[in-house]
């Protein structure tokens, strides 16, 4: 597959906590004057952090933070305990303005800036929110926690099944049983394709496991699934010898074990927006490389990957659906309908259980219909993360 923007699993962990605490935290780049309508302006210099007002009424407060300093900065709204960050906006480059929306309850807070993104902060000032308590929609934190727990379990389960299936495939391939290996290949890959954004988030693993021939720099080693695919389906008069096959099979198992170990680690967490972004990423994957039939250039088992990507996206979507539903019911209705439509269309060509037609059997019109259906889903799906965070 093509290298694409990875899913920052760990980096987003803080956002989940935030979203849960405040019910609404949205970081936005702001054009000049974004805060003009009742917003609060913050001037963040290298040694000060001037907030235009020290009070606000409960509800959504919008801070428009302009970095007048020389280093990247962040702005934080901290709860009375001095530890809990109620809202923050990071990575504001010098000269830039970004806005932060916070739904804060009445109480006492502290505002501060962190030039250079480290240290204890500058320009600490008291900030008071008055008025009535704000009712948070649903039980935001519980929903987000539950979604994260469910998704982590799903990823671990898929990685576990992937390892089992990969071992069997590798054994068949290494022993020279090409016929069995060819049957096992697309089925094993489905586990990988369902959680591909997670594998990609580890940076090094996906290129080692899933690179296509054209992705590899000249002179670099080509390893993983597609190296073996080429050997199985298109030996090109130069099949790998027994030792090379064994080495390729071993490497595949070793790296898959690595993937499983990483998702099994206690430190492996995901956030609600990361889950949503994973769903979007999987559909993008389908729209850019599966639909063209370039992923499985030799085996033509693209429809297995296609289906697994869509399933993975659907699981991720289901995980955050309730969170999004409370905020954008129309979006959720449209996503439900379009996932169903794409599933129905894919079912015309087979299933993961019974197998799919080779991608090369599809007519141009068939591919166009699939592409239309993917686009119809991908467009509203691109707004899911905003709805989850919103």
């Amino acid at each position: 597959m093509r290298p694409r923007a990875s899913l920052p699993v760990a980096a987003l962990a803080a956002t989940l906590a935030l979203a849960a605490l405040t019910g609404c935290t949205r970081n936005q780049p702001a054009g000049a004057g974004a805060a003009s309508e009742g917003g609060i302006t913050v001037t963040a210099a290298d040694d000060s952090c001037a907030v235009s007002t020290a009070t606000a009424t409960s509800g959504t407060s919008v801070f428009s933070v302009t970095n007048t300093g020389t280093r990247a900065t962040e702005f934080e709204l901290v709860a009375k305990d001095g530890l809990t960050i109620v809202g923050e906006i990071e990575n504001i480059g010098p000269g830039l303005t970004r806005s932060l929306s916070v739904q804060a309850q009445p109480g006492s807070y502290t505002t501060m800036c962190k030039p250079g993104m480290t240290g204890s902060g500058v320009g600490r000032a008291a900030f008071t929110v008055t008025g009535e308590a704000v009712a948070l929609s649903g039980d935001a934190k519980q929903l987000a926690d539950a979604a994260a727990t469910r998704y982590v379990s799903y990823v671990r389960d898929q990685a576990d099944q992937l390892l089992t299936a990969t071992r069997a495939f590798a054994a068949s391939y290494a022993s020279g049983d090409a016929a069995t290996a060819k049957t096992e290949y697309p089925a094993a890959r489905a586990y990988y394709e369902r959680i591909e954004p997670i594998a990609e988030s580890f940076g090094d693993l996906d290129p080692q496991l899933d690179a296509r021939e054209g992705d590899v720099a000249e002179g670099a080693d080509w390893t993983g699934w597609h190296r073996i695919e080429k050997d199985l389906w298109a030996p090109d008069g130069k099949p790998l010898d027994g030792a090379a096959r064994e080495q390729a099979a071993e490497f595949l198992v070793e790296k898959t074990q690595d993937l499983k170990d990483r998702v099994d680690a206690a430190s492996f967490t995901v956030t609600a927006d990361a889950i949503s972004n994973g769903a979007i990423g999987l559909l993008d994957e389908v729209a850019s490389s599966k639909i063209t039939g370039e992923e499985e250039a030799y085996s033509h088992t693209d429809l297995w990957d296609f289906k697994a990507n869509v399933e993975g996206a659907e699981v991720a979507y289901r995980g955050v659906r309730d969170i999004a539903a409370g905020k954008d019911a129309a979006l959720v209705r449209s996503l439900d309908a379009r996932f169903a439509a794409l599933d129905a269309l894919l079912a015309r060509y087979g299933s993961l259980e019974k197998g799919f037609q080779p991608y090369t059997d599809l007519s141009k019109a068939d591919v166009k219909a699939l592409s239309d259906s993917v686009n119809a889903l991908a467009e509203p799906l691109s707004r899911l993360t905003a709805a989850v965070l919103g």
């Binding site: 949205r26 936005q28 000049a32 004057g33 166009k368 889903l377 467009e379 691109s382």
Partner: protein, 425 residues
């Protein structure tokens, strides 16, 4: 912030915009030229030549759709769309509502969606794609049409298909490519800035995902017709002036008779019919013809565009005039074959564009004319004229028609309504 123009937030907050200043200068400098066009008062016909082209805004709402008698802009992006399988009629209506709302914004020089790109949700893709940020309205018009296929059994519209919306017959010499022909819907985007036209079609296409997909599209880089007298006649890729005798917006009685569907036209009253033909030109061959052959083929002089019977560009051709026994304008020349006097008075409002799509495998330019014509009834206008041309026009040796389509272009939308409301409401 819905007032914001494409330029982004900063411009509106200044008392006098940079663009406003420019417009002021333009009026002073060019005011003298405005008379002819502004005296008309016909809707959309006036391009107010005093306003610099970049700042022109053609209102989207009105009795007729803009982009027909509107002074022909320099650039085109034309797209045909097919509706999604299983789409309900209500979805079609909503699509046309969404398109109309977006078109009203785009033609006014704004982006789609309420939020400027700079202030949208950071976690969501921007509503507008952004490539027209900072660009002027550039005279953008968006003109929507309904193809014959819209009137099949999908939406229950079969009995509303206008008689005039016939399938075009096969013309001799046609080499039509299905992937460059027809479509349930068409959108003609014309602008003086190609990026503005592409931006419009791209965003309309994005709005349509799940409801309609682009079937084919065509970029046109230079207009080949004048639709007002104030405009200089442009040249096609054969190097000849094209559209000298075109219907002009100023010919109000003719426009009424030849372009707009009359009050008896039911839901099409105030609409028009658009025929598009992608005409590939065999330029390498043409360029090897002597000047005499080229002029005999066209029937006009190359530099001036005067008819070979004499005079200047706008002198009426005299087909009876003879030189050495033979007519000065050959009987099968393009100008004669296409002339209203040879076609029972039928005329077209042509609005075509030159195109260049790269080259073919043999290194020949894949270029030509993307012909667009508006008319009241293709059965009386385009079809008989083209049948005549296709059978005998000397020009046929150098052109081949590769794309084709006909669409019913409904009347303009009133404010708060949408294009197609007369058919679908």
């Amino acid at each position: 912030m819905v007032r914001e123009r494409r330029g982004g937030g900063t411009r509106d907050r200044q008392g006098v915009s940079r663009r406003g200043l420019l417009r002021g200068f333009g009026l002073g400098a060019l005011g003298a030229g405005a008379g002819a066009a502004t005296a008309l008062g016909a809707e959309h016909a006036v391009a107010a030549s005093a306003v610099p082209p970049a700042d022109r805004i053609h209102p989207f709402h009105g009795a007729h759709q803009a982009g027909i008698v509107t002074e022909a802009q320099d650039r085109l992006y034309f797209a045909a769309f097919d509706l999604a399988e299983g789409l309900a009629k209500a979805d079609l209506v909503q699509l046309l509502r969404d398109w109309s709302a977006a078109a009203a914004r785009l033609t006014a020089g704004r982006g789609v969606g309420d939020e400027p790109v700079s202030q949208g949700d950071y976690a969501a893709p921007p509503e507008d794609t952004g490539e027209a940020l900072g660009l002027s309205p550039a005279g953008l018009t968006l003109t929507f049409g309904f193809g014959p296929s819209l009137f099949d059994d999908r939406f229950g519209l079969a009995d509303r298909r206008p008689d005039a919306l016939v399938d075009l017959p096969a013309f001799p010499g046609d080499a039509l490519i299905a992937a460059a022909s027809d479509g349930d819907l068409c959108v003609q985007a014309c602008s003086d800035d190609p990026q503005v036209a592409v931006h419009a079609i791209r965003n309309l296409s994005r709005i349509a995902f799940g409801r309609a997909t682009m079937r084919w599209s065509q970029l046109g880089f230079g207009r080949t017709s004048s639709t007002t007298r104030a405009q200089v006649t442009p040249r096609n890729l054969f190097g000849f002036k094209d559209g000298t005798a075109n219907l002009k917006a100023e010919d109000t009685a003719l426009v009424q008779r030849e372009v707009w569907v009359g009050d008896d036209g039911g839901w099409m009253a105030g609409g028009s019919y658009l025929v598009a033909r992608k005409v590939r030109m065999r330029m390498e061959t043409w360029d090897r013809q002597s000047l005499q052959d080229q002029e005999q083929t066209i029937g006009r002089t190359k530099p001036e565009g005067a008819p070979l019977s004499g005079g200047t560009e706008f002198t009426a051709p005299d087909f009876a005039a003879k030189g050495d026994g033979a007519p000065l304008i050959p009987a099968a020349s393009h100008v004669r074959m296409a002339h209203p006097s040879e076609n029972g008075g039928a005329q077209l409002l042509r609005r075509g564009y030159n195109y260049a799509d790269g080259n073919d495998d043999l290194g020949r330019m894949d270029a030509g004319l993307f012909f667009i014509a508006f008319q009241r009834d293709p059965r009386r206008q385009f079809i008989p004229i083209q049948q005549r041309l296709a059978s005998a026009d000397l020009l046929n040796e150098y052109v081949v028609h590769v794309g084709s389509g006909v669409w019913a272009v409904p009347p303009g939308a009133a404010k708060g309504s949408y294009v197609g409301a007369t058919l679908l409401s």
